[in-house]
């Protein structure tokens, strides 16, 4: 496997957050979400102070777990005047550590199964507590405003409290039905896409690759546990996209799909993606999407017939998903089979479904109208450049998308 995909790193606090959060949730139950969040933050702060060049624990992860666990116990002692915390202390506190069981998927299943919370709110909560992103980072990658994120996380916390009290949920043994599996898939799909298209101006990379890799490993675990065809197709999408990461940037410049050096694609992941592609019994959103990606990646020189196939696949996809992004991709395909007028008509309808100055909308529209109206096309590109924060993306648009008039 290409080593570039898995850079060696020091302890990764962001990735560890989810593991600690789920482990502590498994130990203390779902009633103490806020205490657990604070305890993990405190354990990280303590490690900053105590660990140094000559003094780090043998097992960093265990050390942080124990410190965070003791912090929760101390908070509970202060809150409940000793009585409740003794209950936890009498249980075998090291059990979770010895088993070293990763409860992240179990926790995601718990959140996905909450009845009254939207998938967006669930995803936001999971981005924070399983994938360790701060409110600011979630704001940067989802473009949701900070207040909305904060409120939706708090609503999810309240919902966990209410529903778990009623059902006495045990995270260690919780299992998912098909409806919950679908929501878990939607959440993993959203997180992967956030990682795959990072717009954060503070990090230079356009991909948050460890977020993508963590999503893949959780999807693999979901597939291994429930063996659902849709999860297999979701994995196909993840692997096929991830395989292209090594070719997305060359000499510090963004390389668009059709100009990538295909030899740089990670062949193992590419093949794995094709293996995960499984024809389902009924039409499945992830299957069609994976088919489209595999079509793009297996055909080197696109003819009109290839575009017609892509257009057909997008038509099937629209029967099962109303996403405006799918409609945008459909419009792009239509423009490639000589149906520009129809594409523009659909675009004018899609525009109403998206926020103003939507980056992807502007880029697709600029591309479609490029030949008939280069001035408007350039104006859309210029607006997009103004709205983008990331230098590498701005440079790409300046160099590649503006039409010389």
């Amino acid at each position: 496997m290409n080593n570039d995909l898995f850079p060696k790193s020091e302890i990764n606090y962001r990735a560890l957050f989810g593991k600690l959060f789920s482990g502590l949730l498994g130990q203390f139950g779902a009633n103490y979400v806020s205490e657990i969040e604070d305890a993990i933050q405190n354990s990280f702060l303590k490690s900053l102070k105590i660990w140094n060049v000559n003094r780090t624990p043998n097992n960093n992860e265990n050390w942080l777990f124990i410190v965070a666990r003791n912090d929760v116990l101390n908070q509970l002692k202060a809150k409940y005047n000793q009585s409740n915390s003794e209950l936890f202390e009498s249980s075998d506190g090291n059990q979770v550590l010895e088993n070293d069981k990763d409860l992240r998927l179990q926790t995601i299943i718990l959140i996905a199964s909450l009845a009254i919370i939207s998938t967006q709110a669930k995803t936001t909560f999971i981005l924070k507590n399983i994938f360790g992103l701060s409110i600011d980072e979630i704001h940067d990658c989802t473009l949701l405003n900070r207040e909305t994120i904060y409120k939706s996380i708090n609503r999810t916390k309240k919902s966990i409290l209410q529903e778990c009290e009623l059902k006495q949920t045990d995270i260690q043994t919780i299992s998912a039905n098909q409806a919950t599996i679908s929501i878990v898939e939607e959440i993993l799909y959203a997180v992967f896409n956030i990682g795959f298209d990072s717009f954060n101006d503070k990090i230079e990379e356009i991909i948050n690759r460890d977020l993508c890799l963590e999503t893949i490993s959780l999807a693999k675990l979901l597939f291994k546990t429930y063996n659902s065809e849709s999860t297999s197709n979701l994995l196909a999408i993840f692997c096929l996209h991830t395989a292209r990461i090594p070719a997305k940037i060359e000499n510090g410049k963004l390389i668009s799909f059709f100009y990538q050096n295909r030899k740089k694609w990670n062949q193992e992941l590419f093949q794995l993606g094709l293996q995960f592609l499984k024809k389902p019994k009924s039409t499945d959103k992830f299957y069609i999407e994976a088919l489209i990606v595999s079509k793009y990646m297996t055909v080197e020189n696109f003819t009109e017939n290839d575009w017609k196939e892509i257009v057909n696949l997008y038509e099937i996809l629209q029967q099962i998903s109303s996403s405006p992004i799918i409609k945008l991709n459909y419009c792009y395909g239509l423009s490639k089979v000589g149906k520009t007028e129809l594409a523009l008509k659909i675009l004018s309808e899609v525009e109403k479904e998206l926020p103003n100055e939507h980056t992807y909308f502007n880029l697709v529209k600029a591309n479609i109208i490029g030949e008939v109206n280069p001035i408007e096309s350039n104006s859309l590109i210029a607006t997009t450049i103004d709205n983008l924060n990331q230098k590498i993306r701005k440079e790409y648009l300046l160099e590649n998308e503006l039409i010389h008039l």
Binding site: E10, I11, N12, Y13, R14, L16, F17, Q41, F44, L45, S47, L48, K49, I50, W51, N52, V53, G132, L133, S134, D136, E137
Partner: protein, 117 residues
């Protein structure tokens, strides 16, 4: 070689609001900075300090529990360094990761007999 105490004043509020990613940055930065100091022979010792402590005042030695500062900044740690002169330590301290997230460093040269002889 002269010795210098480098005090790390940290903004407690800002520290407690760091994201996991920022904490990782600061942890790794401290490790590699301290490593660099050690390799160059400047590092004698260094540790983090508890937020709370004890304050003893007056001839009656009245003992009070901390926190005893009203400031939002506390001394969160120290490094004991050695170098030929203050300017060298100033240059080293400029790169101290404490500055990354709103902290301040303070250099206090250790007094030595020969300074006054």
């Amino acid at each position: 070689m002269k010795q210098f105490l480098l005090l790390l004043h940290e903004d407690i509020q800002k520290m407690s609001e760091l994201s996991p990613k920022e904490m990782q940055e600061i942890a790794n930065a401290h490790m590699s900075w301290a490593n660099k100091l050690a390799e160059a022979g400047h590092l004698i010792s260094g540790d983090g300090l508890h937020e709370k402590g004890v304050l003893i005042t007056g001839k009656d030695s009245v003992v009070k529990d901390g926190p005893y500062l009203e400031s939002k900044e506390i001394i969160g740690g120290y490094y004991l360094l050695q170098a030929d002169d203050l300017q060298t330590v100033v240059e080293l301290a400029k790169e101290c990761p404490t500055h990354l997230f709103g902290g301040t460093t303070e250099i206090r040269p250790i007094m030595e007999m020969e300074d006054y002889e």
